[in-house]
Subunit: 281 residues, 2 copies
């Protein structure tokens, strides 16, 4: 099958130097096909992802400490949940460590902001998913001054040191910031208000936050500029097209897994001997 990618997603979506204010959220960087081709390719690539994830899991069961951690950030309705449901949902749940980070609890607030994050890190062999993450602590926290600027100000460096540590311990981070236009966000919020089966996804706060979009845009820009590192780069995902979001994240995950050059774990037993024992059992 033609891939329709003119450049790999890892290159086309890399955050380096990108200005969010100039981002076309309806674009499909690097991908030259349309929706139909994208969906067909996704169906095929989903199988590749699933096979690679099983290999990762198999190695984890055999003691390999390496893991892959997908970090999803984005405004309400950007499609983080859809990525979890449709991309992560295509692999074996046994190999997924999923965590969603809402507003911190009273207990969590009494700890360093990375405390609750560390507790949810994926185990070796797992595909971890953070639906929101430690980056909330330099996004919503910064926009609304939930802590003093000298506190959030030093978090960028703390995050970089933290992620360096994770990578040294065997993690591959795939950090994806998803962006929809304000108009597309309005459409998606309207749908939640029109359909009783979507009410539960809506919060009046989602509308209030729209007024802060310029501040968020600035906070996201600083986040990308200061925490997109060589060992844990950010990818910027134009997310107006759900099919493209899913295809792109699938490609990023495949790339991360392929980078591990995984093989099936070797037998830690004598196959011929065990076969004889089995036959007699």
């Amino acid at each position: 099958m033609t891939t329709h990618w003119s450049r790999p997603a890892t290159k086309a979506l890399r955050a380096d130097g990108l200005r969010i204010a100039e981002l076309d959220t309806s674009g499909t960087p690097g991908f030259k096909g349309g929706k139909k081709a994208g969906k067909e390719l996704l169906a095929e690539r989903t199988g590749v992802l699933s096979d690679l994830q099983e290999k990762l899991y198999a190695n984890g069961r055999s003691g390999d400490p390496r893991n892959v951690l997908l970090v999803l950030q984005g405004m309400d309705t950007a499609g983080k949940g859809g990525i979890v449901r449709h991309v992560i949902g295509s692999v074996d749940p046994q190999g997924v460590d999923h965590a969603a980070f809402g507003p911190p609890t009273t207990e969590e607030k009494r700890h360093h902001f990375l405390w609750r994050i560390r507790k949810q890190l994926p185990r070796g062999g797992q595909l971890g998913v953070f639906d929101r993450s430690h980056y909330e602590d330099v996004l919503v926290v910064r926009v609304h001054n939930l802590v003093a600027p000298e506190v959030w100000g030093k978090r960028y460096a703390e995050i970089n040191a933290f992620e360096r540590e994770l990578v040294d311990e065997g993690a591959t981070l795939v950090k994806v910031a998803m962006f929809v236009s304000l108009d597309e966000q309005k459409n998606r919020l309207r749908e939640r208000l029109e359909r009783p089966d979507k009410f539960w996804k809506f919060s009046p706060n989602d509308i209030e936050e729209r007024a802060f979009w310029p501040s968020y845009q600035q906070a996201y820009q600083v986040m990308l500029d200061r925490t997109s590192t060589d060992c844990a780069p950010w990818y910027v995902l134009p997310a107006d097209n759900k099919w493209f979001s899913r295809l792109a994240v699938t490609e990023l995950l495949i790339n991360a897994l392929e980078g591990l050059k995984l093989d099936w774990p070797a037998a830690r037993f004598d196959v011929a001997e065990q076969t004889r024992l089995l036959d007699r059992s």
Copy 2:
């Protein structure tokens, strides 16, 4: 679509009075169709399960403490992993709390046997899955005398009290014991020894345990007799046919979810007002 069920799975598989020694592990109790009809029905019922699970999750997000907990027990190769991958894998990972229980760690052994179980209980709105569970503490522990008989002997009552508590707090337990014949187990183990991509699933211990099958059968029988209660009944699943296992567990989960009589959560905001605010935002 014809369902091909002559009796609902909840009735056909109910453990009460059943003798494991007489179980036909290749049977499909209550289901009159064959493999093809079973697979077609499964595809349809998977969608039903997924929709119900989303409703459970939506209610959980709105504060409903209720949850559904699938407890899977079975000998090696019985197909527990396949149920997780194919049945649980069909619903949204955000709504799944999955836990697998291996041999207890040194720390876990220093606690009451339910200590590690309590830590993994599903949250409200979640579909919990236990791949092995607290029942290991009256199965492998009993067969190999890992603790004194007076210790494991009182666990049946402790388990019943524990599960009563869970149900009172809003859990619906779906306890499934999966059984394959010794011959079918041999076939499945042989496959793991023949295929290098399956080596990681094999352990020499799997063969050693086959010699203990009579003791396990007895331990399973006592478990069913003593812990299949009205509030948390056991279902016995003949598991030689993977397609039947998956179909049956799907039906049991659908039944549990339907029993909650879930509706979409009502809006906790003024829809018309929010729509106006959105239009102006």
